[in-house]
């Protein structure tokens, strides 16, 4: 959840820690003198959303994983999904209709123009879906895993699905649409850098330099009256020191001591909002003993004090996670009322020891000893350089050690960590799940046995390798349930299953680190008005960019 984690490897962590530490003592110097160019011009928004490596490469191909973030403020999806409210806002489509569980229809918005003046139409939508079918590398949302055909008639686009799959509408919603008249002439759309995008969105590329680029307002935008910021200024370097010093309007960054550093830099205007974006959990390898024993997993879950873990890991910015599998408070409306204490498990070492005993591990001379007479020894795998996760794991370690369990922490490099996660090469792994904006996708990726590959074969979801007939059956039912009432009943049962079976041990919520300033623009999302997440690298930002007002 921590975009700055990419740069939070030991060294840079030292940089920011040291500089911020010193900074809190020297707050006199935080006046923004000689700062970035973006701070002065009125109507321009200084935006810490895109990082150079260390400089920018001009790549706006919206399908590329290395594309400039700005691509997402130009290309637009059919509907924008806000994962906080589990809600889709009609965008290039004016709405969608589930005709039956295998057919979904979208009505395409009239009067939208591409930034080169050509009209946008339903045929662009069909073209885009054909394009990503021909080039699976561009199908970042896996559309063609569930779609069988796409056709247009007038302003209606109809999607026929491979089988009943109502939740797939959320995935189709998020597909960004590219112009046929441009992309059909591109010889290789996978490697094309798309330096001057023609798109439908609120911004077009302004100036571009290796250390900073700007985006200017698209004057012919279909809802131009809602766009307040004339220019977005995106610097390549957004260190915590620069965020504090240069007067940013909006940035996405984990920052230490946010109240003294970010807010302290401008008490009158600077605010922050860190809503949960996913659940951080301990994934037990369910193919191995003792993790395949549900009593053992319950014991593990009851042995932990999640509040301490959450506070240690994220400086108290986020809350402990419950065992419902939901992201709270985002998915509060789905919460099963039958779960005690909203699914939160509080530490109960007595109960934990009883459950461990049921699984064959009992306390002897201060050590938890297994059937063979040897002390229980667990290894927790976490990625090197994810310092917040490491602090959480260390808290877990000390809490388990207090019960007489020996715990080793294994910290492979991120690539090796991903490999271990995919291949099931771990005992207990720190991982994340959820946050897709769809309760079905969240549970499906977490629990569907379809993702569970044998250990040694790379899986792309369900890394703990949960294999449960009831879960599969419920997920199948959820796929074809069309009414919210039916869906709720199934989601309730999935939560109960998650609570009882403990396929993963939820620890705390990973935050989305939104830093805002209302000195030039107001209307930022917040806990009171969660109309969008603070994420800056998805189409979600379109909600914010069309919601801001100039400060008076």
């Amino acid at each position: 959840m921590n975009k700055s984690r990419a740069r939070s490897r030991a060294l840079v962590a030292v940089v920011s820690a040291a500089s911020l530490l010193a900074l809190s003592a020297c707050s006199v110097h935080t006046s923004s003198s000689g700062g970035s160019s973006g701070t002065t011009a009125s109507g321009s928004l200084l935006f810490g959303a895109d990082g150079g490596n260390p400089t920018f490469v001009r790549d706006f191909n919206p399908f590329s994983s290395n594309a400039r973030t700005g691509a997402h403020y130009m290309y637009e999806p059919l509907e924008v999904v806000n994962s906080i409210e589990d809600k889709a806002t009609p965008w290039l489509a004016t709405g969608d209709k589930v005709v039956d569980p295998t057919t979904i229809q979208y009505t395409i918005r009239q009067g939208v123009k591409w930034s080169d003046g050509k009209p946008f139409s339903a045929s662009d939508v069909v073209y885009t879906f054909d394009l990503i079918k021909k080039n699976p590398a561009l199908d970042t949302l896996g559309q063609w895993q569930s779609i069988s055909s796409v056709s247009a008639s007038g302003d209606t686009v109809t999607f026929h699905l491979n089988g009943p799959d109502v939740p797939d509408a959320t995935i189709i919603d998020q597909q960004i649409i590219v112009p046929q008249h441009i992309w059909q002439n591109v010889s290789d759309p996978v490697t094309w850098a798309d330096p001057n995008p023609v798109a439908t969105g609120p911004y077009v590329v302004g100036s571009f330099a290796p250390n900073e680029y700007t985006m200017k307002k698209n004057t012919s935008y279909w809802q131009a009256d809602k766009v307040a910021a004339e220019t977005l200024v995106l610097p390549a370097s957004n260190t915590p020191l620069q965020l504090v010093k240069n007067g940013y309007d909006w940035a996405y960054s984990f920052i230490d001591n946010v109240d003294t550093t970010w807010v302290g830099a401008n008490k009158q205007h600077n605010t922050y909002w860190f809503p949960p974006g996913g659940t951080i959990a301990l994934l037990p390898n369910l193919t191995k003993a003792p993790f395949n024993n549900v009593d053992f997993r319950r014991g593990l879950s009851e042995a932990l004090n999640r509040n301490t873990i959450a506070t240690d890991a994220e400086e108290g910015y986020v809350k402990a996670a419950g065992q419902s599998g939901l992201l709270l408070p985002n998915q509060q409306s789905w919460l099963n009322p039958a779960l005690p204490d909203q699914g939160l498990i509080s530490q109960d070492t007595k109960q934990a020891l009883q459950d461990f005993a049921k699984a064959g591990y009992s306390s002897k001379g201060g050590k938890l000893v297994g059937p063979s007479g040897a002390q229980l020894h667990l290894t927790i795998t976490t990625a090197n350089g994810y310092t917040d996760w490491l602090r959480g794991v260390q808290a877990v370690q000390s809490q388990l050690q207090a019960l007489g369990i020996a715990v080793t922490i294994d910290q492979p490099q991120p690539a090796a960590y991903t490999q271990a996660e995919n291949n099931g090469d771990f005992d207990l792994l720190m991982g994340a799940f959820g946050g897709s904006g769809s309760v079905y996708q969240d549970f499906n990726t977490l629990m569907s046995s379809g993702f569970a590959k044998p250990v040694g074969t790379a899986a792309s979801g369900n890394f703990e390798r949960f294999n449960d007939a009831q879960a599969d059956q419920l997920l199948g039912q959820l796929k074809s349930a069309t009414s919210v009432g039916d869906q709720q009943k199934i989601v309730d049962q999935l939560q109960q299953l998650m609570y009882d079976q403990v396929p993963v041990v939820s620890l705390f919520y990973g935050g989305l680190w939104g830093l805002f300033s209302d000195k030039s623009f107001t209307g930022w999302p917040s806990a009171d008005d969660p109309y969008a997440t603070p994420a800056t690298w998805t189409e979600n930002s379109l909600l914010i960019l069309t919601h801001l007002k100039k400060a008076s």
Binding site: H29, S33, P136, T191, A383, A432, G435, S460
Partner: protein, 326 residues
């Protein structure tokens, strides 16, 4: 001549070994380029299964047997064609290195030369006036400063001169809105940005040259010909510079040659702290992202420059010192 051909043969053999190791080492690292890309993305939140599939399809992860990869790699090396980078996909490796190399060569190269010249001169003075303030201050001071880790000096300079005083820019090689070109104003801008990183390298490296020069020079000063020169009434300065220092310079030049070879590798820590777009930072990025093509090309350039520098020093030694030719 036999000495020369022997050296050439050894050079070719070492080169082949380096090129091959360069191929093997990155592949011993656990995890694939796609794993690294996914790890990078997962920092923003859980990565969907579909995203994983599309990234694997995009990067096309190395195909064919290790042997066929090796052969095509050797072919590429001969043609200086290093393919497309994984972590900066779809940028070609050659253009990435082409963009980074000049910054490193100019910054680290010129600072290395300055540190060598300043350090060696101070070493000469220290040895000639040994025991005086001119000796103790540079010797002890240089040793003191070179004991600091690079990044710590960099952080101190960054915070006090860059942030608190605001005299110098704190990151990058040129200002926010500038685009590299050959104008005088861009040159001034780049110079302004090079001062803090340059100062960091200078502060931590010139101490070594002082100590090295002082120690050899002290030895040389004990030689009979120096005493003879003094006894003949030559001016002290001539004795110091033209007799003692000139002879003491030989081993100093050897280390200088080797350090120059390593300049190409950049200065990882300094470049990281100041977000300086040089080779060191590029290499760090390549290694942490399992970017085989970029890593191979960078390691190759670094090893080849060190080898060439060593080779030149070897040849130069053969010319300067007849004894090595025996």
């Amino acid at each position: 001549m036999r000495y020369f051909w022997g050296r050439v043969g050894l050079f070719v053999l070492t080169l082949w070994a380096a090129v091959t190791l360069n191929f093997i080492l990155p592949r011993l690292m656990p995890g694939s380029p796609a794993d690294a890309a996914i790890a990078k993305l997962s920092q923003n939140g859980p990565v969907s299964p579909a995203m994983r599939a599309s990234i694997e399809a995009q990067l096309g992860v190395p195909s064919g047997s290790v042997w066929s990869q090796y052969l095509s790699y050797l072919g590429q090396v001969v043609h200086f064609d290093f393919g497309v980078s994984y972590s900066y996909f779809p940028q070609p490796v050659s253009s990435l290195i082409g963009a980074a190399l000049p910054w490193t060569l100019v910054l680290v190269g010129s600072v290395t030369v300055i540190a060598f010249v300043v350090g060696t001169l101070l070493g000469v003075v220290a040895a000639w006036r040994r025991g005086t303030v001119l000796d103790t201050v540079p010797t002890v001071g240089g040793q003191f400063l070179s004991a600091f880790p690079y990044f710590w000096i960099a952080l101190l300079l960054l915070f006090f001169l860059g942030y608190v005083a605001g005299w110098f820019p704190t990151s990058g090689a040129y200002s926010q809105t500038a685009t590299p070109n050959w104008s005088l104003s861009f040159f001034g801008d780049a110079l302004d940005h090079a001062i803090l990183p340059g100062l960091t390298i200078l502060i931590t490296s010139f101490g070594g040259w002082i100590i090295g020069m002082r120690n050899t020079m002290v030895n040389t000063l004990g030689e009979d010909y120096v005493t003879f020169a003094e006894a003949n009434g030559l001016r002290p300065r001539s004795v110091a510079m033209r007799y003692a220092a000139r002879n003491a310079l030989l081993p100093q030049f050897t280390s200088f040659g080797m350090v120059l070879g390593g300049v190409v590798g950049g200065s990882l820590l300094v470049e990281t702290v100041f977000a300086y777009p040089g080779v060191g930072l590029l290499l760090f990025h390549a290694v942490t992202n399992q970017d085989y093509p970029l890593m191979q090309a960078l390691f190759l350039i670094i090893t080849v420059s060190v080898l060439i520098a060593n080779f030149l020093v070897d040849i130069l030694y053969g010319v300067l010192d007849p004894r090595t030719r025996q």
